[in-house]
Symmetry: C2
Subunit: 221 residues, 2 copies
């Protein structure tokens, strides 16, 4: 399945290969963007020769596509346990705030921000890569959250009636929690998140997000 042969059988022993190579390439792409990333940097970072790199991936384009696909594959179900935790939480509001904080920590973390930026930048040249990222990394998680919210609706804990309503609720909760800080981080360099006083700001955003969310979708009248 992998574009690189699974086991090295013969030949001179080399440096990184397979998943390690993709991890190195990912770091190079994330740090420098598509244009700024050089195949020399990937090769030397992986401690292989450029020749070997080109044997595994016949062009920079192919390597880029493989890096993004690999990333999406790895982050497949990282959200699921947290959505499950919302369903199991004793208090709804506390559970929602916790989930909002988890989404913030995930989406606003430097690697995820960098990957978003990379994919968005190359969306024009590689529309299929971008579409795959959007579908399997974003829409998938939104759908998962929507189903959980609908479950809470069925239980009578939220005013969420059908699948459409749940999709709207999931979308609004997500963006209330992350849009403002995401915008700030996007229009700045890659300042770190979670350290400093950003933590307090994020917590306030999450609390306000849940307050507004419950104003619309809360069951208590």
């Amino acid at each position: 399945m992998s574009p690189i042969s699974a086991a090295r059988t013969r030949g001179r022993p080399g440096g990184s290969s397979g998943a390690e190579l993709l991890a190195v390439a990912r770091q190079v792409f994330l740090a420098s963007g598509y244009a700024g990333a050089t195949m020399d940097a990937v090769a030397s970072g992986a401690k292989i020769s450029k020749q070997t790199l080109y044997r595994h991936y016949p062009s920079k384009d192919v390597l880029y596509a493989a890096v993004v696909r690999d990333w999406v594959d790895q982050g497949h179900d990282r959200m699921r346990p947290h959505v499950q935790a919302l369903l199991d939480a004793p208090g709804l509001a506390e559970g929602l705030v916790r989930l909002a904080r988890v989404m913030q920590a995930g989406i606003l973390s430097p690697p995820v921000l960098q990957m978003r930026k990379l994919v968005a930048n190359e969306a024009e040249r590689f529309p299929e890569v971008a579409a795959d990222y959007l579908e399997r990394s974003w829409n998938r998680n939104q759908h998962m959250l929507a189903e959980a919210l609908r479950e809470l609706g069925d239980r009578g804990e939220l005013r969420v009636a059908d699948a459409d309503g749940a999709a709207v609720a999931a979308e609004q909760l997500t963006w209330l929690a992350i849009a403002a800080p995401l915008n700030r981080l996007t229009l700045q360099g890659g300042r770190t998140v979670g350290g400093g006083r950003d933590g307090g700001e994020l917590e306030a955003v999450a609390a306000e997000a849940v307050a507004t969310f419950l104003g619309r979708f809360g069951a208590g009248e």
Copy 2:
């Protein structure tokens, strides 16, 4: 003030200069990004020689900074009349929906999206340009909207008590209206907005945004 001498006094007659030159440069930067934009393309687009271009702007960096600054200057108060219209609107909900639609039309239009992308991409290399853009183009409008919402709060039409509450309300209204479509457009190529069936989708997003907004900040209990 302008980096280009205001009036050509002597010498051979040339092509575009001053504001026209910046408009041409803007188009080139927006269409191709910083790295993809070439000084040759700017020069030939403005029908001047590369020499003349370099006489006005001694480097690509300086030209870029001037383009962004010029853009921010031009779009300074484009939001103001629409915020005023909200204050003058007979029905609050209708006024909010109309404002939401205006924000969508503005921020999700191709040139604004492209400028966002450009500035975000070069935020690391030109942090001051990005900070200026964020402050004068984004925060300024948010502040304007927040003041209007506080005015509505003073009138008793919204549950907005102080400046902090108004800032939160402005931020949430904005993002409820534009975050989801902005995300989709960012993670895709530059598909047009406003044509096709996007219009209907945006209208639905605006309606849902206002419904949620009023659930939290509406005066009616």
